[in-house]
Symmetry: C2
Subunit: 93 residues, 2 copies
C-alpha cells in the first residue's frame, strides 16, 4: 500500500502529465496560466498575486521559451513546498 508521501509524489507526477502537452511540447507545461490551474495559485488558502506567479515562472523558465519541463516544474514545487513549510512553522508558533 502506498504511504502518504508516495501518494504525494505520484500526484506531483500525474498532475504534471495531466496538464503537459495541451499546448507546445508533449513533455512541458506551456504557460503561466496552466500552472495557476495546477493549484499553484494558492498557498495555504491564500491566493497569490498573478504578478508574483508570473515573476516566479519567469525565473524558472531559464531559456524563456514559455515552457516548463519536468525538471523546472520540480524546482517550482520545491519552492512552493518550502513556502508551505514557512507557513507551517509560522502557524505553529
Amino acid at each position: 500500500m502506498e504511504t502518504p508521501l508516495e501518494k504525494a509524489l505520484t500526484t506531483m507526477v500525474t498532475t504534471f502529465h495531466k496538464y503537459s502537452g495541451r499546448e507546445g511540447s508533449k513533455l512541458t507545461l506551456y504557460n503561466v496560466q496552466t500552472t495557476i490551474s495546477l493549484g499553484g495559485g494558492k498557498c495555504c488558502g491564500k491566493k497569490m498575486k498573478e504578478t508574483s506567479i508570473d515573476d516566479l515562472m519567469k525565473s524558472l523558465d531559464k531559456n524563456s521559451d514559455q515552457e516548463i519541463d519536468f525538471k523546472e516544474y520540480s524546482v517550482f514545487l520545491t519552492t512552493l513546498c518550502m513556502a508551505y513549510n514557512d507557513f507551517f512553522l509560522e502557524d505553529s508558533q
Copy 2:
C-alpha cells in the same frame, strides 16, 4: 477546497514534521532509517536497496551531521519525484 497538488505539498510538509525532532534537532530528520520510514524506501512499488538510499542520504547531508533539514529534505523529494517521473515515462511507452 484543496487541489490534489496542494494536498500533496501539505503531505510533504506534515510528513517531515511528523518525523523530525524524534532524535537530534527539532527541525531535522536524524538518520537514514527515519527517511526510509517516510516512505522513501520504495519507488513505484519497487523496494530500493538500503545501500542506494544510504548513498543518496550521504550526498544530501552536506555537512555530514547525520541530520537532514527541510531544505535537504526538499531536494531529496525532488530527486525522488524525478525518479517517479522516469518510471512514469518508461511505463507509458
